[in-house]
Symmetry: C2
Subunit: 118 residues, 2 copies
């Protein structure tokens, strides 16, 4: 175990691109989405209380819901043992997925096939 | 939207290192851990029904619990819209975290401090 595993000081372990994985669930534990944060996105999330990520495709900060209005209000944030992943428990203002599904994880894997479940 | 967003065919979008993010919860929705899979780990997981990852630190396949016995039996697997993240709903045989905590996410983030919650 390293110091990061046990410390009570926030010390995110960013990857070489400066990113940390952010997993979003609602209060019921439904997995809504997985995205990435850099230090600026984490600071913005903590400051505003609304989930803000680093969009790798757009190359810029991205407040979830900035256009759709489907913001994610952060109820609680946790970090994992080696501090390279965040868990955001959120109240979603609308569907989390850009497809309109409540969760991005709306397909179950069955062998090589996917089955729509939401 | 791309074809990956809507297809009913499994078509994982591996990153340049050949990896996809794998998020593990239990049936209650508690987030247990976040790890990575390559195609071989995904195939082994599907074949065995027990969560198997690619360990970036060890540079090899890693069946969770191979030494501790704390295997993760997969109840259901889902994939997200752009197919770069998997959600494994699992029955854990023991603590998911190498620190002995039930979940790797055992600390809440409070500003720059962490508060142990499990």
């Amino acid at each position: 175990m390293t110091d990061r595993d046990t410390t009570l000081r926030l010390d995110p372990r960013y990857d070489p691109a400066g990113l940390i994985t952010a997993v979003v669930t609602d209060r019921s534990g439904a997995l809504l989405m997985v995205a990435h944060m850099n230090a600026e996105a984490l600071a913005a999330t903590q400051r505003s209380g609304e989930a803000t990520f680093w969009s790798r495709s757009r190359g810029r900060l991205w407040k979830k819901g900035e256009t759709s209005g489907h913001v994610l209000t952060v109820v609680e944030m946790r970090i994992d043992c080696d501090q390279d992943a965040l868990w955001l428990i959120c109240d979603p203002a609308g569907p989390a997925c850009h497809t309109g599904a409540p969760s991005c994880f709306y397909r179950r894997v069955e062998g090589d096939s996917l089955v729509r479940v939401a």
